[in-house]
Subunit: 250 residues, 2 copies
């Protein structure tokens, strides 16, 4: 646990990196207690605030947790799937929104990955998963729904589809792809007709999984991708045109 040679970065970043390496490499194991802040300060020959900044960096990545009191301190944290989900989703969402990733690219990735779930989900989905999917289909068909609520339900539907694989690693990896699309989807104004189309395709997917028919699920997802892309392209084209006009008036 010694400081890295690069002196250009912050001390707190160096210390955080050193401790992170120790955790990743297995030198520090889950639930192991780190030395108290004062001791760390001494070891790294820095002040306590600097150590604290380093620890906060690690806490932000859920690598450690801290506890107050006599037997408190910083402990190596067993990162939970929930924490990992949430981090992955935040990062994915920002990555997409900040880097001008096209609707096409994001959509393609999302459906390619979802289709990878279809065979596993067809084989393993529980009655619970099916029930969730049916419930979301039903919700999506209700007339009073806002576009945002419709999108949220859409995400819930797809999450159930992914969870149907019974593979938590799949759920984790897909979380980013599915959830990060939501802001892009939220740009779309769903007409009654397009909603009907989507619900029909969702129902088709659900039916296929109920019948444990991977091929049919794949087909329905392809259709859904095609249709989503169609909806998205309209919106994106309009936005691009309005941006163009704005630039022209400058």
């Amino acid at each position: 646990m010694k400081t890295s040679p690069k002196t250009s970065t912050d001390l707190s970043a160096q210390i955080a990196a050193a401790i992170r390496d120790a955790i990743v490499s297995g030198d520090l194991i889950v639930n192991q207690r780190l030395p108290c802040e004062a001791e760390l300060a001494e070891q790294f020959t820095v002040s306590r605030p600097t150590v604290r900044e380093a620890l906060k960096r690690l806490a932000a990545q859920s690598l450690i947790r801290t506890q107050r009191g006599a037997t408190g301190g910083a402990f190596v944290n067993r990162i939970s799937f929930e924490e990992a989900y949430s981090q992955h989703i935040t990062t994915s969402t920002l990555l997409l929104s900040m880097n001008a990733v096209s609707f096409e690219t994001a959509c393609e990735a999302r459906y390619a990955l979802e289709r990878a779930c279809a065979p596993l989900s067809a084989a393993r989905r529980s009655a619970d998963h099916l029930a969730t999917m049916r419930a979301e289909c039903h919700r999506q068909a209700q007339p009073g729904l806002t576009d945002e609520a419709f999108c949220a339900s859409d995400v819930a539907f797809h999450r159930a589809l992914v969870d149907g694989t019974g593979n938590p690693v799949m759920s984790y990896q897909l979380a980013g792809a599915v959830e990060a699309m939501q802001p892009l989807m939220n740009m779309i104004t769903f007409t009654a007709r397009s909603r009907g189309e989507i619900v029909a395709l969702h129902t088709q997917v659900t039916d296929a999984l109920e019948a444990r028919d991977a091929g049919a699920a794949d087909t329905a997802l392809c259709e859904l991708e095609r249709y989503t892309l169609h909806l998205g392209r309209d919106v994106m084209a309009k936005r691009a045109k309005s941006r163009e006009n704005l630039t022209a008036t400058h």
Copy 2:
């Protein structure tokens, strides 16, 4: 940008959450400068060290970057694909290693996702991607290679396969699945025979992509999954047995 109602957590965590929300919601846009630390301290009615801890939390997630000097400060960071990769890989690796995810589960997820890349990669791979894959195959066939170097080359091969899709979102999402498997793969001792088998399958995948034959690529990847699983199961069974013995002697 005001503090959330929950008072149970750290002030620095609350402030970090408030600023993060402002970034995610778009209130703060890319490259926008945050108020200086003293001002933030005043706004949130906390001290500067507390603000700094909050900013370090955000910096750890690449949400902001800081700059010293007269026109310095904290700026909303456009998170790059590289930064996102690296975070995703760290999280994925720890998630797998700390939560006793079985080799089977991880392997299944990885190959399910990689197979999702096959059709796209067959359609779009460049000559560069093929060259990288061939080069890695060649490296893997060299006799003096350590197991770790073999694994590293394996990862490089699969990364090229994924990058062949030409879809950066796919590359990002897959990075976690591919790289996080490496520690698990590193447990395996590759015999000359198993290496030969793997290189043959890698070559088969490469040939399929060169021929733009998605079906053949899928078949080869299935074979590779089957074989990897076979190798992994042996190792994991042995490890489980030795753990069992350890527990029995307690």
